[in-house]
Structures are given as C-alpha cells and as structure tokens.
Symmetry: C2
Subunit: 370 residues, 2 copies
C-alpha cells in the first residue's frame, strides 16, 4: 500500500482513498493509511480509537470548529476501482464511495494537512492560517447500525473530543449547505386474530383484514411541513414493511406493519412517538428505533459567517445524519459536501471534479479567513 | 414386520396401521403390508401403482361403488406409537393418523376382506353378501401437492379404475355424511409503487399504502351461503398472506396480498375467478391455484339409499377433498369416516373406538343390504 499523499489535489486524493476499499467493518487499511499520513503533521494532535481518527489543532483560538467525515462505504457492487468518466462534457470520478462520502473526506484530509498556524515552523509552501481551532473526525461504520458507528463509540469514551462551537459534516449535499436534519422513528404495529382453517374461516379472525384501517390511515395521512430556524422541514409517515400469513389454507392470527416516521427537528422523540401513537390509536404500537433530528441552528454566529463565506443558501436536510449527534450536544451543525445525495449508494455513484474542488475552495477560504 | 391381519377388529386394525408410520412420500412399508394382505383374497382383483392399491370385486352387479382412503399422514410430532386413552370415560385411540384417516382406511380394509359374494367358495365364517360391486382405492400422498397425489397419478394412467355409480371417501366426518365439497382458489393481488428513500417519501409511491383498499374490500366482504342439491355451502374470501417492504428506510415499490377463495360447488372455477376479479377490480390479480368443488349429488339413487341406511343427515363439506375428483367424473361422492376433522393434523389427534365401530357397522349394513 503506497503512503497516502494528503497534499495531492483533492480529486486525486479522492481517487486514492476510494481505491482503498473500506466497506463498513473493513476500514482498517484505510484508517491505517490516514493515521500514517496525519500522524507526522506537527500541528495536529492525533488520537485513534479503533478505526476512528481524531486530529486537533491547538492554536489557542477562542472558537473551535469540528469537521467530520465517515470513511466507510456501503458494499461494493462491481463499482471499484474508480474510473474517470465524462458526463455532459464534464469530468467525473465514478465508483463506490465517490459520493458517500470520500470526496468530502478527501477535502477534509487535505485541509487538515494544509491549514496550519503560520507561527509553526513551516516546511512546505501552501500553508494558510486557519481562523479557528479545528477538530477533524474521520470515523468508521456510519453505514450500519448506530451501535457500531465510530462516533457512538467516541461519545462514550471521549465525549470531550466533540467540544466545538460549530460543526460541519461532509455528507454529500451537492455543495449546498443543508441545515440540521429530520428525526426518524420506526415502530411495529400489530394486529392479532385467531387461526382457523380457511375452509372454515368463520371459526377464526383474520389479522390481515384487521390491518385494513392501519393502511387506510397511513394512505390518508397528510404529512406536515414545519419551519424550524427558518428552514422548512417536510415530514413523512410510511409503511416500510408488512408481513402476515401462516399457510395458504390458514386464517392468519398476526399481521405486522412497520412504519417509519420522519419528523421535523422541532419535535422531540417523545413528541414523535406520541404523534405516531395518536395516528394509530386503537392499535398495538411498539417503538423499535428512534433518533432525534437536529435543529439547523443557523442563527449561531459561526454558522452565519460560514453561510456568507460559502455564498450558499441553506436548505433543510431530510435524511437523518450524524449532525444530530452534534445538535444533541448543543452544537449547531450543517451538512456540506460534494456529490449528489440521490447518487449515494447507487451503483453508478459518481461525483464531478468541479464539486470536489468548489467545496475545497470554499471551505479553505472560510477557515483561513481569506 | 408382522403381516397385517385385515380380519382383526377394526380398532385393532386401525392401531396396527397407525403404528406403521407412513408420512407422505414414505408409504412403501404400509403399502407393501396392505398389498400383501389383500392380494391373496380371491374375490378381489388387485392392482398396484407405486404406493396406490386398487382392489375390485367382479360380482356382475349392475351398480358399482368406489370407496377410497389415503394411507399417508402429515409428519409425526412425537405422537407415535399410538396409545389407548380415555376421554370422558370413553376409550380412544390416540396418535398420528388415527383421525386423518387410518380409522377410515382400516374399516375399508376390513370390509374389503369380508364382503364377498356367497357364491364364491368360502373358507371363513363371517362372510356377507355385498349388494353392489366394489372398487377400493388406498392411495398415497394425499397430504401434499396435488401433483404427487396417488389419485392424480391413477387418473392419468388408469382412469377406467374410477368408474362407479357412487363414491365414498373415508375422510374424517365424525361419522356424519358430508356431501360434496367447496372449491378453492388462490390468487396473488399486487400493488406497485416507486422506490425512494423514506426521508424523501414524496419522491416515491408507497405500494403498501396502495394495498389499503384491497384489505378494506376483504375486511368488508360478506361471504354468501349457497344451497346446492339441498345442502347449504358457506363461502369465504380471505387474505392468507401479505408481504411488502425493501428496508427500514425505503418506500416499498411492491406489495403482495395472497387471497384464498372457498366457493360453493355450484360455481365453476371460471365463475370463482370472475368473482374474485370483480371483488378486487382495479387491481392486478394473478390466479395461482384453483380446484373445483364437488356437488353433493345426493339425489342419486345410491346416495339416497346410502343416507337412509346409515341413518345420517347429510351436511355440506367445507374443506376441499378428493371427492372432487369423483364429482369431476360425474360420480356423486360423499365424505364419510370416523374422527373429528378439527383434530386432523393436531398433535393430540385421537378417535373414539365407538366412531370407528359405528362407521364399520353402518357401512357393512348398507353394502350387504342387511
């Protein structure tokens, strides 16, 4: 494995880290390469926990910005190694991870290496002065269960490393700023009946038929749009799974409908649960999973400066992302990274060179105060 | 394996053939024992095809009655060998096959051996004169797919062996006469949608929500009761399976509802299909399986004589049985056997001695004209 050149152009660095496969659970090779590349940098204190790496400056600035990116990907589907392609005449990097989210992580690695305090004894040319202290977090297992997520682990063992006044998560957002995120809750709704031979159906009670009003309520549900800190969040309540049946000649005694409620960050998890229970009143509802959303917090001074500097209008983020972890700690956080989120996890995942370079340029400009 | 004594009391014969396990596909040992027991009987022409055995008299009578019983059982579940137990002070035989349907088959074996023409040179005492020619059919694989059923095979290779003026199937009917049977049809109803991330549900179309009207129509369906040849058949239309969902964060693009329609024997399969399609109009309906019912045909002279002789009032049979095979050939057919059909396939399957003996007595009386 050749050493990672974190001073290479950000597109080249994206290509290099995409070509080190790092499906969730198998990030060690890439984590080793990142650790080896950033450890020698004198302006960074580097901490490693499993395959999560934290690198911090200690420049004595009175404000600190945390910038995070996961290093894992969803499984490869014949889309590695990367290829350089053209789309409508524009150069693109194609392959697993290019969008979600090694383009963003590559930009972070490059800026982590290059943004140093000029008072440090310098040995390379392009050094620039960051205006804030920086905490870089590159973490594993974002694409799988929350329990395995490197940030979950870090929050348990070293919560102090999250301390910051503002956070940026490099998830793909088409180079736009997406503030906060919706929360998400999953629940299983069950109907019960009585088994019987289907030739004598009247001796039983059909649990699948009993689910008719559940589906009718979901089909008739009108999701709300809720303004939070100036951004309009669109909610949604959907069946994502339904299951019932014993055999082709048996009246079923159980039907399960799994629902997913995506809720505006102004609602707490408890509010979200109460809402789902009220929509499905009269049915057995079991909450199986819930994560609060994140308020965009764009009224924070650093957030305002950031928005002005990158010249983007903030939009709401609908999908749940790890920004919620910062939000839960009271740290305003946004999503900002190259790549079209609709192409994340797609077999034809691809990112334009221009978006990677734009994000690098804007982030560098803001952080260095130029 | 001791030879089967087909002249033993019918309860003992039931016990003996239950204790020769014969789960569908594994009937050879029992079929061998039956074949060896009936082959020496001079008044019977015995034909064997795989594990199906046909034994016929040729007494020159102008009418012929076919009497059939399957020799297989559903899988054993720690309920063999048989045990003699008491229920409310009455003796019962407990164990797999006692109800479905070795009690009935044992009665048939005994009567097949004992009902002979007195003009034949006799060597045993209890011989009685049957008033009709008889065709006994003991067949394999009734409890599994119709394709494997011994009668399906026989209908292909020796349809002539089904010829009869009246047929009796020894399926458990609590010693009552159950005429004909309902038909059965299974169909899969599908809704289609468009996949999307559940965080952006408005970009997709939820196929599970699309199934709401299907369940509402099934839940609101009022099954009919239809009189056929004087018996009242109760119909039923039920969901027996529902399935949909891709992942916990994906709007599903497909939902399948499998329905089972049990229909009166006055409807053809085509009528039944048209009815299901009209109830589910507007949805994609695929018929996956259908079998016509059987009219009870109790106005046939032999059926009338049989009812008078056994002194029972005929009831409709709701479950589909092999009587439909005879009905399809224009042969009136009834279900008549010992055992409570609700205990068939039950782990506590058990039959009272009295029911076995009653059925033997009634059938013998009618067939011998005494």
């Amino acid at each position: 494995m050749p050493a990672l050149d974190v001073f290479a152009p950000s597109v080249d660095l994206t290509r290099a880290i995409c070509d080190i496969p790092s499906v969730s659970g198998e990030e060690k090779t890439l984590a080793d390469a990142i650790f080896d590349a950033v450890s020698p940098l004198e302006h960074l204190d580097v901490y490693r926990d499993g395959d999560t790496i934290v690198a911090r400056t200690h420049l004595g600035r009175d404000r600190r910005v945390a910038i995070a990116g996961h290093i894992d990907t969803v499984p490869i589907n014949a889309n590695l190694p990367t290829r350089d392609i053209e789309v409508d005449g524009e150069p693109y990097l194609w392959g697993r991870g290019t969008v979600d989210m090694k383009g963003g992580t590559a930009v972070q690695l490059k800026l982590a290496a290059e943004l140093v305090d000029p008072r440090v004894d310098l040995t390379w040319a392009e050094l620039v002065d960051p205006r804030v202290d920086l905490t870089w977090l590159w973490y594993d297992n974002e694409e799988v269960d929350s329990d395995r997520n490197g940030l979950t682990r870090l929050a348990r063992t070293r919560a102090d490393l999250f301390a910051a006044d503002f956070a940026i998560l490099g998830e793909p957002s088409n180079g736009q700023v997406e503030g906060g995120c919706n929360g998400t809750l999953r629940a299983v709704v069950r109907t019960h009946g009585v088994r019987a031979h289907s030739a004598r159906a009247w001796m039983g009670e059909n649990a699948i038929h009993g689910a008719a009003p559940i589906l009718a309520r979901l089909a008739g549900y009108r999701p709300r749009e809720i303004a939070v800190d100036g951004l309009l969040y669109r909610e949604g309540l959907n069946a994502v799974r339904i299951e019932g049946g014993v055999a082709g000649n048996v009246i079923p005694d159980l039907c399960e409908v799994e629902v997913n409620f995506r809720f505006a960050p102004s609602r707490s998890v408890a509010d979200a649960e109460a809402h789902v229970r009220s929509v499905l009143e009269g049915f057995e509802v079991q909450i199986v999973d819930a994560a609060a959303g994140a308020r965009p917090g764009l009224d924070a001074p650093l957030a305002q400066e950031f928005l002005r500097a990158v010249g983007a209008e903030a939009r709401p983020k609908y999908g749940w992302t790890d920004v919620a972890r910062f939000s839960a700690l009271g740290i305003p956080a946004v999503n900002y990274g190259p790549g079209d989120p609709l192409l994340a996890h797609h077999d034809e995942e691809r990112v334009s060179y221009a978006q990677i370079e734009d994000v690098e340029r804007s982030l560098r400009a803001w952080l260095s105060g130029s």
